[in-house]
């Protein structure tokens, strides 16, 4: 069963960013496990989850990195963004400040992520209609101005969660598959095709795979 799960055509790394408490972790759990926790705690460091979806009859596996929104819970590494091809920039539609800070998060992406990273602005907690502080139109025009796609979601009642991830993964897929047509398919990252990697067990340390070497 596992093997079947793990067969995929593409693996995309997507990061979830945004202020503390906007619901990044719940978006992740809703999408990957269909779970929602009203009393979820602050994320410490980073959390991961994966889920595969079908795009164009291809299996796209999303490896989603859920990062801590709170500065003091963020790890001291900018490698969060390394290799990421997509980012969901999440804010809370009931808290205007979290929307205002989207600009700062964009800056962070510009500084650390790939220049072509696909970014989607996500206004979460759309179920809190009576508390809305960020008008949909304002957010949409901000997204347009910055070349981001835009959706309002609710991790609580599942509105648009699936769509949001699906849209961003499709967009990434579209870009990557187009590039593969124009560019050469040669040498994926990893060992160059012309050189067959010879797997040699390390003679020491690197004990991940060979615990028998541990005690030498």
């Amino acid at each position: 069963m596992r093997a079947k799960d793990d067969e995929y055509d593409y693996l995309f790394k997507v990061v979830l960013i945004g202020d503390s408490g906007v619901g990044k972790s719940n978006l992740l759990s809703r999408f990957t496990r269909n779970e929602f926790n009203l009393e979820s705690k602050s994320t410490i460091g980073v959390e991961f989850a994966t889920r595969s979806i079908q795009v164009d009859n291809k299996t796209v596996k999303a490896q989603i990195w859920d990062t801590a929104g709170q500065e003091r819970y963020r790890a001291i590494t900018s490698a969060y963004y390394r290799g990421a091809v997509g980012a969901l920039l999440v804010y809370d539609i009931a808290k205007y400040l979290t929307y205002e800070n989207a600009e700062r998060w964009l800056k962070e992406l510009q500084d650390h992520a790939d220049a072509n990273i696909v970014i989607m602005l996500v206004g979460n907690k759309s179920d809190l209609r009576h508390l809305r502080a960020v008008p949909t139109d304002e957010a949409r025009s901000f997204a347009e101005k910055n070349g981001l796609s835009f959706l309002e979601t609710s991790a609580l009642d599942s509105t648009n969660v699936e769509t949001a991830f699906h849209n961003i993964l499709s967009e990434i897929y579209r870009i990557v598959s187009q590039r593969q047509i124009t560019g050469q398919p040669e040498s994926e990252f990893g060992p160059s095709t012309s050189i067959e990697p010879i797997q040699v067990l390390p003679t020491q340390q690197e004990g991940r795979q060979a615990p028998c070497c541990q005690n030498i």
């Binding site: 093997a3 793990d6 693996l11 995309f12 790394k13 602050s42 410490i44 460091g45 980073v46 959390e47 991961f48 490896q63 801590a68 003091r72 819970y73 963020r74 790890a75 001291i76 590494t77 490698a79 390394r82 290799g83 990421a84 091809v85 790939d114 220049a115 072509n116 990273i117 990434i172 870009i175 990557v176 590039r179 124009t182 560019g183 050469q184 040669e186 040498s187 994926e188 990252f189 990893g190 060992p191 160059s192 012309s194 050189i195 990697p197 010879i198 797997q199 040699v200 390390p202 003679t203 020491q204 340390q205 690197e206 004990g207 991940r208 795979q209 615990p211 541990q214 005690n215 030498i216």
Partner: protein, 793 residues
């Protein structure tokens, strides 16, 4: 009357008034004149009040001006201090600001004087003299009213009432007298005021004008003094302008020559210099194709240095290594790609697509890489050339290829850093100069021949690495730098002379070297039984019998057994009063004699070295355990030489191991040393906590990183059912949580898809490399969440 006359020209009607007022019947006529005077005084009062107010406003504004001026002057002083490199600017600015400071002082004096001359003087005049006039006026009005009443009464009196007539007439006469008197007084007051007003106004105005005169005079003097300097400066300035113009002309000329040159050649540096002093063979901008799914092209600053191809994103960034060892890579043109001027650098683990700005530059880069490869072989691989050329695509080098990401990039090679440690400039075993190999578990440098012999001993005795061909993780390099040939030979060759064995020379036969190395490291014949430098056991620490040589290679169960054995003998000892050192010692001695079945530690040896029999001596295992906590690498090496079991268990302290103690001690290098000497990273103490648990609890991020790299099992739970991740989450230690989760994700990825070509794997390696380097080079960066003592090394 004379003073009255003096003021008459001022008020011509007053004279009339004065004459008339004395003639009562004319009084009415002069009423108008009186009113005019009164109006005049009121007007004067208003005008003076206004003038005082204007003066106050002027002074306030002036003071504000002075404050602003002062700030401006401070700004000039700031600028002067900033320009301390340019003495001309500094001195002239200081001089000017001093002058301006003087001017500000003069201004302040001026405003003080204005305050005194106008404000104070006029205010007193208004307040005192005009008030006096008003008082007199009031009195005059009162009396004239009384006189009016007396007249009325006098008129009303009936003629037949003689008595009343008389009385009324008397009153009238008295009031009339009084009126005349008061009226005169009033007129006098008016005249006083009129005269004083003239004096006061002119006096205050005069002192005001004099204040100004003084001010400008002082200012003039001040600037007259400064003038020569200013003139001088002006002349210098002219000269400067001339110089600048000349310089500009020169620059323009140069510019045009450069431009002419530009047309003839490419604008970028084309030459590469293999023997460059700074080690940078070639550098310049290249486009690099990203290895992620997007394959974005980014312009980066690349350089070839220290046998590596590296690039920087920003000037201040640490360089990122593309090719760790140029000898392991090939470079080729790439024409089957949509972009021009591309070339590919292929290493065993990955390939990197690069693009130059022009064909010329591409050729230059390819040539530079190729030449660097050739030079690297020639220079660094000389002694091992034969071996390396044959075996480069096999075991040793590929292993390094997969690990080289960890390589330190400090401008200095591992060879340079390790060779400058005491004794490391010559082979540890035969003394040959410039050793280029190392035994990483011993912490020594070796020549190629001795390294071959070390290899043949097996990795449980010596792990050999090349200082030039292999990559060096930062913690391993630090380990090498904390030990060294001198330290190790003091331990392993302590008894050399006593035993009477001669150390082989570089020219000795291989067999001779082999026998010596075997005796030195396997049989440990030259190790002094117990060295004097061994610390005494701390009071309260119970001494266990020394563990045996054979235990060094035993598994955890066996060492546990040893622990129990120790505990048993411990009980015996403590039950029959082990307080006195002598008994304790004999006990200790007895225990060790009984349990010592070591081939290399015959009883006789102990007898021979009374120094060590006399003192209370911990077992090698305990010594290792203690030294690990104290971060004392030489003592640890010594304990191992004495046969300490690296996975020794201290039954007295929750069955903790030396590795756990090393974690508590907080040093990364001691952990690395134990791991290199076969410490099991997963042995847990009585509470079910292994090294990873302890490092997590203590917030030692660098150690967590190291243990995860060395395959620590992070799913093990302690007696409270907690695994390291849940401990780190509870402690909200973001760095450790990130490392643990990342390792977990990587595990899952590996489980499902093998080893190579994983983007996840690459990011995992990147992040772990980041943390390794931080832990070794900037440990303070990782101390954010640390709860206990700061992490040394």
């Amino acid at each position: 009357m004379s003073y009255m006359n003096a003021c008459l020209p001022l008020l011509p009607r007053l004279r009339v008034f004065l004459c008339k007022i004395l003639k009562e019947n004319l009084f009415y006529a002069c009423r108008a004149a009186l009113e005019e005077v009164e109006g005049d005084v009121t007007e004067l009062e208003l005008k003076l009040d206004k003038l005082v107010k204007l003066c106050i406003a002027m002074i306030d504004t002036g003071k504000a001006f002075c404050t602003a001026n002062k700030q401006f002057m401070n700004g000039i002083r700031d600028l002067a201090q900033y320009s301390c490199k340019d003495s001309l600017v500094e001195t002239s600015l200081m001089k000017f600001s001093d002058t301006l400071q003087e001017m500000i002082n003069y201004h302040n004096i001026l405003f003080d004087q204005i305050q005194r001359s106008i404000k104070t003087q006029l205010q007193t005049f208004v307040k005192e003299d005009i008030r006096k006039f008003k008082d007199a006026k009031k009195q005059f009005e009162k009396v004239s009213e009384e006189k009016e009443n007396a007249l009325v009464k006098n008129a009303q009196v009936q003629r037949n009432k003689q008595h009343e007539v008389e009385e009324a007439t008397n009153i009238l006469t008295a009031t009339r007298k009084c009126f005349r008197h008061i009226a005169l007084d009033y007129v006098l007051q008016i005249n006083v005021l009129q005269s004083k007003r003239r004096a006061e106004i002119l006096k205050s105005m005069l002192s005001f004008m004099y204040a100004h005169l003084a001010f400008f005079h002082q200012g003039y003097d001040l600037f007259s003094e400064l003038e020569p300097y200013m003139k001088d400066l002006g002349a210098q300035l002219d000269q400067l302008a001339v110089d600048a113009a000349k310089e500009k002309r020169d620059m323009e000329q140069k510019h045009s020559t450069i431009q002419q040159k530009d047309y003839s050649s490419d604008d970028t540096k084309l030459e590469y210099n293999v023997d460059a002093a700074n080690g940078i063979v070639m550098e310049g901008y290249l486009f690099k194709r990203a290895s992620n799914a997007f394959k974005t092209w980014n312009r980066r600053w690349f350089s070839i240095q220290n046998n590596q191809l590296v690039y920087q994103k920003k000037f201040k960034d640490n360089p990122t290594v593309v090719v760790e060892d140029l000898r392991l890579c090939t470079v080729k043109h790439c024409e089957d790609i949509e972009r021009r001027f591309c070339f590919e650098v292929v290493s065993p683990t990955k390939s990197c697509m690069l693009q130059a700005d022009s064909e010329k530059l591409r050729q230059a880069w390819i040539k530079a890489v190729q030449t660097s490869i050739a030079t690297a072989y020639r220079e660094k691989g000389d002694e091992s050339e034969k071996q390396e050329k044959k075996s480069s695509p096999s075991t040793g080098s590929l292993e390094s290829g997969s690990e080289t990401k960890e390589k330190l990039l400090k401008g200095e090679s591992a060879l340079q850093r390790v060779q400058c440690i005491a004794g490391n400039a010559a082979c540890c075993d035969c003394g040959l100069a410039d050793p280029r190999w190392a035994s990483i578990n011993l912490g020594i440098t070796l020549c190629i021949e001795c390294s071959g012999i070390h290899r043949s001993l097996g990795v449980h005795f010596s792990k050999v690495r090349s200082l030039t061909l292999d990559s060096w993780e930062p913690e391993l390099l630090k380990l090498m730098c904390e030990l060294g040939n001198d330290v190790i030979n003091r331990i392993y060759e302590a008894k050399l002379e006593k035993v009477g064995v001669k150390k082989p020379q570089s020219g000795s036969q291989r067999q001779e070297k082999e026998a010596y190395i075997r005796a030195k490291y396997v049989e440990r014949k030259f190790v002094e039984k117990q060295a004097a430098s061994v610390p005494l056991p701390e009071p309260g620490t119970k001494v266990l019998p020394p563990s045996q040589e054979d235990k060094r290679h035993s598994g955890p169960e066996k060492s546990l057994l040893a622990g129990e054995q120790g505990a048993a003998s411990q009980k015996v000892r403590s039950s029959d009063s082990g307080i006195q050192p002598s008994t304790d010692d004999s006990r200790e001695h007895l225990a060790s004699t009984i349990s010592a079945n070591s081939l290399y530690e015959p009883e006789g040896d102990k007898q021979e070295s009374p120094v060590f029999c006399d003192s209370k001596q911990p077992s090698p295992g305990l010594q290792l355990y203690q030294a690990a906590f104290e971060k004392n690498l030489p003592h640890m090496a010594e304990a191992l030489a004495h046969g300490a079991e690296v996975n020794w268990v201290n039954v007295e302290e929750n069955k903790a191991t030396p590795l756990i103690q090393a974690v508590r001690g907080g040093s990364l290098v001691t952990c690395e040393f134990l791991l290199q000497n076969g410490a099991n990273v997963n042995i847990r103490d009585m509470k079910g906590r292994g090294p990873l648990h302890h490092a997590t609890v203590l917030g030692h991020t660098g150690q967590v990183c190291l243990f995860l790299k060395r395959g620590a099992n992070q799913h093990a739970t302690d007696e409270d059912g907690k695994d390291p991740l849940s401990i780190a989450v509870e402690a909200a230690n973001a760095d450790i949580v990130t490392l643990l989760r990342l390792a977990r994700m990587n595990e899952e990825m590996r489980e499902s898809e093998g080893l190579y070509g994983q983007p996840g794997d690459e990011i995992y390696q990147d992040i772990f490399r980041d943390f390794s380097q931080m832990a070794s080079n900037n440990p303070e960066k990782l101390n954010r969440f640390q709860q206990s003592d700061s992490q040394k090394s």
